[in-house]
Amino acid sequence: MKRTVPLIIAIVAGFVLLIANFIPFAESWGLTAQEWFNILAVGAMILGGGNLLKLHLMKVSGQRKGWGYSVVTIVCFIATLIIGMFKMGVNPNPLTPDYAWSGYYLESGSGLWWIYQHMVVPLTSMMFAMLAFYVATAAFRAFRAKNTEATLLLITAGVVLLGRTYAGVWLFEGWLPESMQWLRFDNLTVWIMEIPNTGGTRAITIGIALGVVATSLRILLGVDRSYLGQD
C-alpha cells in the first residue's frame, strides 16, 4: 500500500499530463499540477528546515567534531528566519500604509535585503569564483598528451583558447597569405565550435531525449519502480 498509492498517483498524473499536451482543452492542467507541486514543496520546506535544525542541534549537544560550525549554522538559520518572517526593517507599502507588514520583503535597506546583499551575494560569488581555479586544475589534468585522443584534445583546446583572444588574430597578422586566412585561430575556433562541437552536442542531446522518453515510459508503465525504493 505504501508504494502502490504513490505508484498509482505517478502513473495517473503522468498519463493525464502526457495526453493533455496534445489536447488544447487540457492545456492548463499542467499548470495546475505545477501549483500542486509547489504547495507540496512548501510543506516539504518545513520538513527540510526541521531536519537541518535537528541534525545540527544533535551535533552541538553531542559536541561532535566541528560542532562550532553547527552553532554558526543554527544562529544564522534562526536569525534569517526571524528577520525574514517578521519583515524587519521593511516599511509598509505606500498604497496600504495602515498594514505594517504590507511592504516587499526584500525592500532595499531591510534586514533580509542586507543579509542577501552583504552576505549571500558575496559568499555565492566567492564559490563561483573558485570555479576558475578548478577549471585550471581540471584542464591541466585533462589536456596532458598521454595518448592520441588526449593530444588531439590538447591541440583543439589550445586553438580554441587562443582563438577566443586577440592572440588568435595577432599571431597570424602580416604573414599569412589571403588564401590561407581560414587557418587563423579565430577562424578555426568558429569552425570547431560550429561543426564538430555542434555535431557532438546534438548526438548527445538526441540520446538524452530518447533516454528521457524511455525512462518516462518505464515509470508510466510501472516497469521501473526503483525510485519508490524497490528494485
Binding site: 499536451n21 488544447p24 482543452f25 542531446t205 540520446g207 538524452i208 516497469v223 528494485d231
Partner: protein
Amino acid sequence: MRKRIPFITAVFATLALANVATAQAPAPPSDLSVQDTPDDSGKSVDLQWSLSNTDIFNPLLADVTLVDPSTIVATYSVERITTLDANGKEVDGEDSQWRVITEAGAGDSSFVDRTVELGWTYNYRICAIDNQGDASNWVEATTTVVPEMQMFDSSKAWLAIFMLVFGGFVAYFINEARSGKTLWVRKIAGLEAIDEAVGRATEMGRPVLFVTGIQDINEIQTLAGLTVLSRVAKTAAEYGAQIEVPTCRSLVMAAARETVESAYLAAGAPDAYQPDKIHYLTDEQFAFVAGVTGYMVREEPAACIYMGGFYAESLILAETGNFIGAIQVAGTAMPSQLPFFVASCDYTLIGEEFFAASAYLSGDPLQIGSLKGQDYGKFFSVLILVIGLFFATTVSLTQSTESAGFGSGALGYINNNMLGSEGLGSFGGGNTDTEGDDS
C-alpha cells in the same frame, strides 16, 4: 460679386483647414485580418494588419525621411465589439460597444487577443495614432470571428506520431522480454565500477557519498539518480559500508530516505539504516556545494557518486573529490557539465547511459526490453537525420538550378512540419523555408 467674395473665401478656408487636418493625421493601417487561433482551447483570436505608410518601422517605406514628422505613428489602437454570445443572442451592455483592447506600438503588425470567450462572435477595428494624439481613419476587419476549441493540437501531430512509434518499439521489446527472449546489453563501465567503489570504501572504512544533483523531485534526472541510489544503497548495506546523501531539496530528501530504507531492507540489514545520513542542506546552489565539499574535505569519503542534474557546481564537487583521492562516478544529462565530469571523475555516464542505469542495474528483463526499444527509437531518429542530410545536401548542390524541386519541398516539409509546428500539412505546400523552425 461682392457677395460672392466672402462665400469663396469661406469655401477656400474650409478646404484649407480640412487639408491641414488630413495632413496632420497619420495614414491608417490596412488589411486588418482576424482569425481564430489554431490549435487552442478557443480562448484567443489572432489579429494581423499591414503597417501604416507613416509608420517609420514599415519596411516598405523607401525613404523614412520623407514621412511628415507630425504624422509619424506612435501607436495602433485596436478596438473590439461583441455581436453575439455563445448562444447566438445579441449582446448588450458594455460589450456591445466598441472598446479598446490594446495599444500596440509602432512597428507591431500583430496581436493576440486572449480576453475572448469561446463561441462568441467578435469584430475588430484598428487605427493609427501619432504623437500629437491625432488618429487616422478606422479600418475594420472584413469578417467577424468566432473562437473555437480544437480537440487535438494538430501542430503536434508529428510529435504524437514519433511518440507512438517510439512507445510502440518500447512496448514491443518489453513484451519480447516478457516472453522469455534474451536481450543483450553492452557493458557500461561506469555502472560496473559502482560495486568496486563501494567495496573500496568498505575496505578503507570510509563513507560513500551520493549526490542526487540540485534539481527537485519533479525532474526526470533526479528520479534517474534515485534509481541508481537504490542500487548503491543496497550494495553498501550488503558490504556494511556507510552511505551519506546530502540533498538540495526537501522532497528529494524524503524520497531518498524511502529509497535507501527499502534498499537496506532488501539487503537484509534494516538495522544498519541511518535516516540522519540522508539529510537536507539548503536550496541555495553554492551554499549546497559549500556544505558538500566541506563534508568531503572533513570526512574524506572513499567513493563519491554524482547522479542527477548538475549545473556550475559539477566541477567544484568533482575537483574536490579528486583532491581527496576518492574514486568518482558521475552521471548527468546536462551536456554542458559532461566535459567537467569527464575531466575530473574516473567514470562518467554520458546522457543516455545515465537513463539506462536503472534498467542495467536491475537486470530486470522488462526494463532491459525498454532499452532495446530505445535503441530502435535511436535508429529511427538517425534514419530521419540521414534523409534530412541527403535532401539538404542535394538542395545545397542544386540550388542555383533547381531551387523549387522535390528536394527543396522534402527538406521544407521535414523542417517545418516534422520538426517544426506546422503539423501534418501537405507536402510541398505552405512554407518551404529551408532554414527551418527553431522549435
